[in-house]
Symmetry: C2
Subunit: 235 residues, 2 copies
DNA sequence: GGATAAAACTGATAAAAATCACTTTTAAAA
DNA sequence: TTTTAAAAGTGATTTTTATCAGTTTTATCC
């Protein structure tokens, strides 16, 4: 999905489509037959990079960050998954370990789907494997895009861009021109932008002075998306 | 495949497996029935980001760079594909446009496979879609890893790392301790590392002084991979 | 083999980002 | 409600990277 439908190309295309949405009732039932619902509190780990998977997770409620931690214990957030998305399937598909870690950004409800059920569903449902192929190809486009952004955009531009993306993820109703509240720690935000926390704080202060955002406690309120778009899109 | 089998984890895992290698003869024939062989000279474009695909390409000979160009015409190389790999399938799978461009790094021989043949082969061969799912999941791991490297490693570290990766791609025989010749312009190398050409040149000069590499014309000869590994892996 | 255009290389300088050393504010617990 | 630990915020400084303005070397075409 493009942000506000204004930008048709991949640059602004950060949303992964829901895999389950494209399946019929029978296929969904096959996949979800033995699911186990689990509550995760803010900060709880879902799975850890380098471990072998025992199944996948369907996000019933909440937001999950997918991230990698380097040798100096610095975290890079790869993607923020939202309600309706599946996570943890890459490891099962590649027959290896989890390539990233996952943790709850807020209180979440996840359905655990055992590995056997998932793999059986792929075998028996061509629709599911088609859907997965489409999703994975799209994920490639999104990540390739991120890579290009990281090397060619400044921290200020990347922060503006991530605020636009997070605004989409944190709005649950659809009202044009609405002020969206982004509840994300400065630490998480800087790990998403790929810079030090201090830089994020400083640039947020600039955005505040420029009337683009305001804050209420540590929550960020986006007042003027168009200015963020202008900053992120600067050539 | 891990570099030299020494590093089992994703950090050193940059090689995409061959998709065709896992298929049986009948499945290969199905896919390659209407292929058209084409020669590409160094620098020739194979496909361009944002265009709709008419098929995919199998690399019979040579190396192809996959890259994105930003608004300021700066290029970021996402991946270097080698002999035996398929390229251009992401757009067909996601039913959209090419997420990146592709061009020949050296004289190449490519087999063009029409879209219909590829899509029909996926429909008819569960082995092919399994294989594709595995490859795409692995590509995700590789790209997620690159993203983390770009944000947390210095230019010097990234250059050392890419020289290790390119050394693997440019060696066609297997002799332990062999000096491998990397024929890659400084421009392409800097677009791979994600920095300015001048920085690459300067750091290459350092590596030369330290006896890690030598040059013959613009070709880079890697004399001491272990020192490169030590630099790239520095914590 | 010499002309010449392109690529490689070098040094100086400017700009951006990271790091350090704090103070202030916020939110959770007692 | 008060305490207090964690998170947010600020300023100064250092380090890294980008940019500019060239010279030298390499490779290709007559």
């Amino acid at each position: 999905m493009s942000i506000q439908g204004l930008f048709p190309i991949a640059k602004w295309d950060f949303q992964t489509e829901s895999i389950l949405a494209g399946l019929d009732a029978a296929e969904r039932d096959l996949l979800l037959a033995n699911r186990q619902d689990q509550v995760y509190r803010k900060g709880d780990t879902v799975f850890r990079e380098g471990t072998f998977p025992s199944g996948i997770f369907y996000i019933q409620k909440g937001k999950i960050k997918k991230f990698k931690i380097d040798d100096n214990r610095r975290e890079q957030i790869i993607y923020v998954a939202n309600k309706g998305e599946l996570i943890g399937y890459h490891a099962l598909l590649s027959q290896g370990r989890h390539p990233d870690s996952a943790a709850a950004l807020e209180e979440c409800m996840l359905s655990f789907i055992p590995a056997d059920d998932f793999l059986r569903a792929i075998q028996q449902s061509p629709a599911l494997s088609q859907r997965l192929l489409k999703t994975l190809a799209h994920e490639f486009a999104v990540l390739a895009n991120s890579l290009s952004l990281f090397t060619h955009k400044s921290v200020r531009e990347r922060l503006a861009l991530q605020l636009i993306v997070m605004r989409e993820k944190y709005k649950d109703r659809f009202e044009p021109g609405m002020v969206v509240a982004i509840r994300l720690s400065r630490e998480d935000l800087s790990n998403l932008v790929g810079t030090a926390r201090e830089n994020v704080v400083r640039i947020l202060a600039e955005f505040k002075r420029e009337g683009i955002i305001s804050t209420k406690g540590s929550t960020i309120l986006v007042n003027d998306v168009n200015k963020l778009i202008a900053i992120a899109d600067y050539k």
